[in-house]
Amino acid sequence: MISYILRRIAGLVPTLFVLVTLSFFIIRLAPGNPFDQEQALTPAIRANLDAAYGLDRPLLEQYGRYLAGVVRGDLGPSFRFKDFRVTELIASGLPLSLTIGLAAAALALLLGVPLGAWAAWRADSPLDHALMTATLLGVVLPGFVLGPVLALVFGIYWPVFRVGGYEPGDASFLVLPVVTLALPLIAYIARLTRASMHEVLQSNYVRTAQAKGLNPRTILLRHALRPALLPVVSYLGPAIAFVVTGSLVVESVFGLPGSGRYLVQGAIDRDYSLVMGMILVYGVFTLACNLVADLLYAWLDPRVRLS
């Protein structure tokens, strides 16, 4: 098992390399330059700036320097936030983003799986139909609709939570963002669990367990739950991607100082190093989550463990 984990971690390196390389060249080949928007730069100042940031070097050399920096853990200076290193900027926002994202993911699993299992257990009952209709709504409601509406209702008309901005340590600012991020995930995971649990409950081995006279709870928990969770675990990777995407919206809607805004702002400003840094950090995070999902899968299903 340990060698399996190590091999999987080693397997991430080429993926990351491809990611860094692709994004580096695509961004550099894009028209535009980080200093385009600064007014009236004289050619001399412009040349100085380019030299200071190494933009006057051949592209391959810039790429080499960037890679060397990445290996040392330095993501370079930001082009727009002049006095900051990219690493510092990301470090200032990442803890908050991580807190929101992981809290939402955990909430989604803790609520989505039991809801889905319950609906499958009572398949075709009014409860099942009600849950599935509600979750359909949850699946299609985008975060940038849900977020403002929740803020309007629970922050303004009926102010139970504080919205707009963030004071470190005050969790009441975080409730609505986490809920906004989690609701579509809860709905999707509930639907996923319901579908797979429904299938598992009709499988031959569940029939065998019934024929043994086991009680329904034992059948559900010992025989049906683990195989029914497999599609949910497979979905964890895309779910993390969803959380990352969603956090961009949520941070913008609720005015939270997370790291998501750097990605968007960086893209708009052509802040090369900031965008690259964000992609790298989020890429590592996503790949790590995918790895955990794969390991979980292997734990749940003995058939994939050895191969």
Partner: protein
């Protein structure tokens, strides 16, 4: 199930017709300013069926123009992803072996990244707000799921004995792909394309919401929601109107796609 599919089709039809006929349904267009009616709620006075925004632009006209953009982008981007996805998936699935391993590894790598990255990278490549660029960017990430589905279906078809029977009957490989594989994956492709459209519409709205998509004075549902969110304390209709419209649109496409999937795709395609 059939009732839902029929209901969804009717709603989608109505939305499309209204969006196309909007110029004849209101005296206003999406750029005109009505200085007499700034940020008014829905009213018949001045023919602002859904109210106006801070600049006095008619919300109905803006929403319908946004709906046209969303539908156009959703459908065209879905077409792009169908073309790439079917070709990629069917080739990988039918040829198998190393070709398959290589092609699908490529898909896996891109799939592992939050695909907003790719779109953001691609969006920076082009002039901001160009619809062609958006189309390409969104379609280019949308094909991944399609490729996976088509490959899975092709692989399971490949194992069916009628393919071997066709080989034994002397049918050539391109003819087998065209006569046996494509008709049998068509159902799944149609169903998933229908489910892809709302995702792509959502994605476009998401980009517009972030300011990376459609630019002023044109609007998309996402950018309208973004503006509405900033005004929601004083003019909630500016948020609720486009938000409701987007939700209805997405639900209808999802219901239609779900219904088509359970009718056309058959087993082996059970993804909720």
């Amino acid at each position: 199930m059939m009732r839902r599919v029929r209901g969804a089709s009717v709603v989608l039809g109505l939305l499309t017709v209204t969006a196309l006929a909007a110029p004849w349904l209101t005296p206003w267009n999406h750029e005109q300013l009505d200085w007499a009616n700034i940020a008014v709620p829905p009213q018949f006075e001045g023919a602002h069926w859904l109210g106006t925004d801070r600049l006095g632009r008619d919300l109905f006209a803006r929403c319908m123009q946004a709906l046209r953009v969303s539908l156009l982008i959703g459908v065209l981007a879905a077409l792009v992803s169908v073309c790439i996805g079917v070709a990629w998936g069917a080739t990988a699935g039918y040829l198998g072996g190393r070709v398959d391993a290589f092609m699908m590894r490529f898909v896996d790598i891109i799939y592992a990244l939050p695909y907003v990255f790719i779109v953001i990278i691609l969006a920076t490549l082009f002039e901001r707000g160009s619809i062609a660029a958006l189309l390409l960017a969104i379609g280019a990430v949308g094909w991944l799921t399609m490729a996976r589905i088509v490959r899975g279906q092709t692989l399971s078809l490949r194992r069916r004995e009628f393919i071997d029977a066709a080989i034994a009957s002397g049918v050539s490989t391109p003819a087998i792909l065209w006569r046996h594989i494509v008709p049998n994956v068509a159902g799944a492709v149609i169903a998933y394309a229908t489910l892809t459209i709302p995702q792509l519409i959502l994605f476009e709205s998401f980009l517009s919401f972030l300011g990376l998509g459609v630019q002023e004075p044109s609007a998309s549902l996402g950018s309208l929601i973004n503006i509405g969110a900033q005004e929601m304390e004083t003019a909630p209709w500016m948020l609720l109107v486009p938000a409701t419209l987007l939700t209805v649109l997405l639900i209808s496409f999802n219901l239609l796609g779900d219904g088509l999937r359970s009718r056309l795709a058959g087993d082996g395609a059970a993804v909720p």
